[in-house]
C-alpha cells in the first residue's frame, strides 16, 4: 500500500488541471469488496455510483431498478452528447436506400479508376456506419446506468448473431442492436419474433433467398439449433426442411416497389420497413414439424411455430443455460439452470424474471469472482476502472483492442456467436495480448481522449487509485498481486500490473 500512495500522489501531479481531490481510504472494516464483486458480475465493471447505491439501498433495490429499467437510459451529459452526435437516428429504410443509391452509382461508372474510387468510398461509408454503432455500444456499456440491460444487449446480439461484413449489414447492425436493447429484459418470444423479421437476420442467414421450390435451409437450421431448442433439442433434418418451407417468402426488399400479385395473394402481402412477406414466394402446402401440423396460411404459420419454440421446455433450458453461462459459470450448475427454466415456464419466458431467479440463487453468490472475463468485459471494465466518471472522448482504441483480442463488435463471422467460456479466451497468445493492452491502458490516455481533428489527446491519465479501488478492490487482492504492485517503478507500471493481474481478469 505504501507504493500505491506514492503513485497516487504522482498521478495527481501528472493531471493537468486536475482538481486534486485528496485520495482517502475509507475507515477500516467498511470495505465493500463483496458488493463490488457482485456488481462486477452484473455490470461492465463496478463503479462507485453503483457501489454507493447498493450500499445505501441494498442489492435487491438496485437489481429491481435494473430489471425494470426504462429506455432510453439517462447517460452522463458528456456521453449522451457523443451518442447524439453519431448519425444513427436515420430510420433503416431510407438509410439503406441511400446506401443503395451510392452503391449503384459507383457500379454504373464506366471509368475504371473513378469506379474503383467510388466503390471504395461506398465500402468506407458502410464501415463508418458499423463503427458508429460500435461507438454507441461501447459508450452505453461504459456509461449507461442500465448496466444489466447493456450486458443483455450484448448477450442477445451474440445469441442472435449476425456478421457485419456480409453484404450491406454494416448499415443494419446499429438498428438491429437498438431493437435488441429495447427488448432485452422482456419476453423471449418478442426477441425471437423481432430477430426473425429483421432484415439483418433475414439477409445474414439467407432467408431472403428462401422461396417455394427454391429452398434455402440456412436460417431454419440455425433458428432451431442456435436460437431456440439447441443442438440436442429434439429436432430432425426433416423438421429443418419443414421449417424452411414455413419461412419461405419472408425476405428483404430494399426498394419502394411492391411486387405484382394475384388478387388472392395481395391481401397476404406485408411490408414493414425493409422486411417483406411475399406470398408469391411462399410455400402454401401443409407442413408437419416438431409434432404439429401447420396449415398453409402465409405469415401466420411462422407465428405459430415461433410460439411453439419460445415456450418449448428445451428452449427454456437451452437459453437459460446460456444466460447462466454468461452470468454465472462456464459450466452452470444444472440445478440452477432447471430453476431458471422453471421460472421461464412460469413467466412465459420473461427474461427479467429468469434473471431474478438466477441472481437470487446461492449458486450465483458462490460463483462471484470466478468467471474469467471475455475480451469485451476485460476492455470495458479496464476503461471504467481507469477513468471512472471522466468520459472518454474516443472509443476507437477500444474497438482496436477488441479486434486484437478477437471479440470486436458485430464481427463474429458465424451464427453461433462468440463463445462464452474461459477456454476460448485464455490461451497463451491471448493472455500476452491482454497484458499489452493492460500496458496501453495503464500507461496513458492511449488515444481515448483524442478528439477527431485534433493532433493530440486531451490531457488525461488513468486514475485507478480512487475510492472504489480502496473500498472494493484492494481488500481482496491476492498476496502475489500486492507483491507485484509493490515492485512497480512508476504509476504507469503500477496500473499495468493491476490491470494485468489475475484478480482483474475475473469478475
Amino acid at each position: 500500500m505504501q507504493a500505491l500512495h506514492r503513485f497516487a500522489l504522482c498521478t495527481a501531479a501528472l493531471l493537468a488541471g486536475c482538481a486534486g481531490a485528496p485520495l482517502q481510504a475509507p475507515a477500516p472494516g467498511t470495505h465493500g469488496a463483496a458488493d463490488t464483486l457482485w456488481l462486477d458480475r452484473l455490470t461492465w465493471g463496478a463503479s462507485s455510483a453503483d457501489l454507493a447505491a447498493v450500499r445505501t439501498r441494498g442489492r435487491n433495490a438496485w437489481l429491481e431498478a435494473q430489471l425494470t429499467a426504462s429506455t432510453p437510459a439517462r447517460l452522463p451529459e458528456a456521453a449522451k452528447a457523443q451518442i447524439e452526435a453519431l448519425p444513427l437516428n436515420e430510420p433503416l429504410l431510407p438509410l439503406v436506400q441511400r446506401m443503395e443509391v451510392q452503391r449503384k452509382a459507383a457500379d454504373a461508372l464506366t471509368d475504371d479508376v473513378a469506379k474503383a474510387e467510388a466503390q471504395k468510398n461506398y465500402q468506407q461509408a458502410l464501415t463508418k456506419l458499423a463503427r458508429d454503432a460500435s461507438a454507441r455500444q461501447l459508450l452505453n456499456a461504459l456509461y449507461s446506468p442500465n448496466q444489466v440491460q447493456e450486458q443483455l444487449t450484448w448477450f442477445w446480439f451474440n445469441h442472435f448473431n449476425v456478421h457485419q461484413y456480409k453484404s450491406n449489414l454494416r448499415a443494419m447492425v446499429g438498428d438491429y442492436e437498438q431493437g435488441l436493447r429495447e427488448r432485452s429484459l422482456g419476453r423471449f418470444r418478442d426477441l425471437l419474433g423481432y430477430t426473425a423479421h429483421h432484415p439483418a437476420m433475414l439477409r445474414y442467414l439467407d432467408n431472403e433467398q428462401n422461396a417455394a421450390n427454391r429452398i434455402n435451409e440456412n436460417y431454419a437450421r440455425e433458428l432451431l439449433e442456435l436460437h431456440t431448442l439447441g443442438v440436442g433439442g429434439g429436432y430432425s433434418q426433416r423438421d429443418v426442411q419443414e421449417l424452411a418451407r414455413v419461412l419461405t417468402g419472408l425476405g428483404v426488399n430494399l426498394t419502394d416497389a411492391r411486387p405484382k400479385l394475384k388478387p388472392a395473394q395481395d391481401a397476404l402481402y406485408r411490408r414493414a420497413g425493409l422486411m417483406e412477406f411475399n406470398p408469391a414466394r411462399h410455400d402454401f402446402g401443409e407442413k408437419t414439424l416438431l409434432g404439429i401440423t401447420v396449415k398453409g396460411q402465409g405469415e401466420a404459420e411462422l407465428e405459430q411455430v415461433l410460439d411453439l419454440l419460445a415456450t418449448h421446455p428445451n428452449t427454456a433450458r437451452f437459453v437459460s443455460r446460456k444466460l447462466a453461462q454468461y452470468f454465472v459459470a462456464d459450466e452452470p450448475p444444472p440445478a440452477l439452470v432447471e430453476r431458471m427454466a422453471e421460472r421461464w415456464r412460469q413467466s412465459d419466458g420473461r427474461i427479467a424474471d429468469v434473471l431474478r431467479a438466477m441472481v437470487g440463487s446461492p449458486e450465483f453468490e458462490a460463483s462471484l469472482g470466478r468467471k474469467f472475463k471475455d475480451p469485451t468485459h476485460y476492455v470495458v471494465s479496464a476503461v471504467r476502472l481507469a477513468y471512472a466518471d471522466k468520459v472518454v472522448l474516443n472509443t476507437a482504441p477500444m474497438i482496436g483492442w477488441l479486434y486484437r483480442l478477437g471479440q470486436a463488435p458485430y464481427n463474429r463471422q458465424t451464427p453461433d456467436g462468440y463463445p462464452l467460456d474461459e477456454n476460448a479466451w485464455a490461451g497463451p497468445g491471448q493472455m500476452t495480448t491482454r497484458f499489452e493492452i493492460a500496458r496501453a491502458i495503464g500507461s496513458g490516455s492511449a488515444g481515448l481522449f483524442k478528439v477527431e481533428g485534433e493532433a493530440k489527446d486531451r490531457p488525461a491519465f488513468p486514475q485507478i487509485a480512487h475510492p472504489l479501488y480502496y473500498d472494493g478492490i484492494a481488500p481482496r487482492l491476492a498476496a502475489a498481486t500486492q507483491q507485484a504492485l509493490g515492485q512497480a517503478t512508476s504509476p504507469q507500471e503500477w496500473n499495468t500490473y493491476l490491470l494485468a493481474s489475475p484478480d482483474f481478469m475475473h469478475r
Partner: protein, 389 residues
C-alpha cells in the same frame, strides 16, 4: 530444468534457443481446417459423372476447364498454379468421400466432433482434442512443438498438454519488457493460468525472433505476401525451425448463395488457399520432405445446387493430403461412382473414409505409432491405412 521455472528465475531468456528446438528430421504435421464446409465437388470435380452436370446447371465446372487428374476426376482451375504442380510432383493426394459419421449437418457440432476425435457414441470431453492427445503420445516436451496459429486455442489442441497459440497476421514488437513479464508471470505462479501465462511470454519472444528474419528478407527485396499467403509463409518459418504440430483455420466457405463455378466466390477462396499452401511448401525447403499437410472441412455440401446457385449443408467432403513425402498424384481411399443412386440420403456425398480411421492410418505410418498409442489419439477407432505416405 523446467524452462518455465527458469523463466521465473529470470534466466530463461538467456538460454540458447537450440535447447528446445525440434529435432531436424522429425515429421511435421500441419492441419488446415476449412471452417464453414467447403464445396468439395467444385474442387475435386467428378468430370466423368453426367449426373454432376445435371445436378449443377449453373455452378458446375465444365470438364474442359478442369485439370484432368484421372479418368474420373478433374481439379478446379482455381488451384492450377498452386496445388496442381504439387499433384504433378506426386506431392498431393485427395481423399473424396471423407468425413464423419455425424449427420447433424451443423457446422459447429461437426467441427467439434472432428476436433475432439472421440467415439461417435457416448459423452464428449470438451477438454481433450485429438492433436493434443497426439502431442502427448509423441512426447512433445516443449510447448513450442505443438502450436495453433490462431487467435484462440482451438478445441483440436486443447487438453492435458499446454499448447501455445499465436495468430501470425499482425505482429509487432512485444510491448511488455522482460522485467515486466517476470513480475506479471509471478502474479500467476500459483494460479491455474501459470503455464499459460509463462508459455505465452515465451512464444511471443520466440515468434518475434523468427519474424525478424522476415523483415530482413523484405529489406532484401522479397515479394511481400498478404492474407493467408503471408500467414502460411510465417507458419512455415516456425514449422521449419521448431514447431512439429501446427494448426490453422480458414473461414468463409459457407457458400449458400452465388457460389460460382470455374470462377467466382468459391474459386477465389480456393485460389488464395492454394497459393498460401504452395508458398508454405516452398518456404519449408528441405523440411518439406518431412512434412504432411492435411486440409479438412467439417462436411461436404449438397450435391445438387440449391435455388440460389449455391449449395447447402451436406455430408461427405474431400480432404487433401500434401507433402514432400506423400504418396501423391492419386485419388486415395474408398470410392464410389458419382451418380444419383450413390448419394447419401439422396442429397450428399456419402462418407466412405471415416476421418478417425484414415488419420489413424496416416499417423501410424508417419510416426510409427502402435495400436495402444493410436487408441489414445482416437479411442475406439481402428486405423485404416490408405497409403497416404
Amino acid at each position: 530444468m523446467d524452462r518455465r521455472l527458469l523463466l521465473q528465475l529470470g534466466i530463461g531468456a538467456a538460454l540458447p534457443t537450440k535447447l528446445w528446438a525440434a529435432t531436424p528430421d522429425s515429421p511435421r504435421l500441419l492441419v488446415v481446417f476449412l471452417r464453414g464446409a467447403y464445396d468439395a465437388a467444385n474442387l475435386l470435380v467428378p468430370t466423368s459423372s453426367s449426373f454432376y452436370y445435371e445436378a449443377r446447371p449453373n455452378i458446375a465446372i465444365a470438364k474442359k476447364d478442369t485439370l484432368p487428374l484421372d479418368a474420373n476426376w478433374g481439379l478446379a482451375p482455381a488451384v492450377a498454379d498452386s496445388i496442381h504442380p504439387l499433384w504433378g510432383k506426386g506431392q498431393a493426394a485427395f481423399v473424396p468421400f471423407a468425413g464423419t459419421n455425424d449427420t447433424s449437418r451443423s457446422h459447429f457440432e461437426t467441427q467439434d466432433h472432428i476436433e475432439l476425435g472421440q467415439p461417435d457414441e457416448g459423452g464428449r470431453d470438451f477438454r481433450s482434442g485429438f492433436m493434443n492427445r497426439l502431442a502427448g503420445v509423441l512426447g512433445a516436451g516443449s510447448r513450442l512443438e505443438a502450436m495453433a496459429f490462431t487467435d484462440q486455442v482451438p478445441l483440436i489442441l486443447r487438453g492435458n498438454l499446454p499448447v501455445a497459440n499465436q495468430a501470425l497476421r499482425d505482429l509487432g514488437k512485444p510491448a511488455i519488457n522482460a522485467a515486466q513479464a517476470q513480475v506479471i508471470a509471478a502474479m500467476y505462479a500459483h494460479t491455474r493460468l501459470a503455464g499459460t501465462v509463462s508459455s505465452g511470454f515465451e512464444v511471443r519472444e520466440e515468434v518475434s525472433r523468427e519474424m525478424a528474419g522476415e523483415m530482413e528478407a523484405a529489406s532484401r527485396g522479397a515479394i511481400a505476401a498478404k492474407g493467408f499467403a503471408l500467414e502460411a509463409r510465417r507458419i512455415a518459418r516456425l514449422m521449419r525451425e521448431r514447431v512439429t504440430l501446427g494448426f490453422i483455420d480458414v473461414g468463409g466457405w459457407d457458400t449458400h448463395v452465388g457460389e460460382g463455378g470455374a470462377t467466382g466466390q468459391l474459386a477465389t477462396k480456393l485460389g488464395e488457399l492454394g497459393k498460401g499452401l504452395a508458398l508454405f511448401a516452398d518456404e519449408m525447403g528441405p523440411q518439406w520432405s518431412n512434412t504432411v499437410v492435411v486440409v479438412v472441412s467439417e462436411f461436404g455440401r449438397t450435391f445438387r445446387e440449391n435455388g440460389n446457385r449455391g449449395t447447402d449443408h451436406g455430408h461427405g467432403s474431400a480432404w487433401w493430403v500434401l507433402g514432400g513425402g506423400v504418396r501423391g498424384g492419386r485419388i486415395a481411399g474408398e470410392q464410389v461412382e458419382v451418380k444419383a443412386a450413390s448419394l447419401f440420403q439422396n442429397r450428399d456425398w456419402p462418407v466412405l473414409n471415416e476421418y478417425r480411421a484414415m488419420l489413424g492410418g496416416l499417423f501410424r505410418r508417419m510416426y510409427g505409432l502402435n495400436d495402444a498409442q493410436l487408441a489414445q489419439v482416437f479411442p475406439g477407432a481402428s486405423a485404416r491405412d490408405i497409403g497416404l505416405v
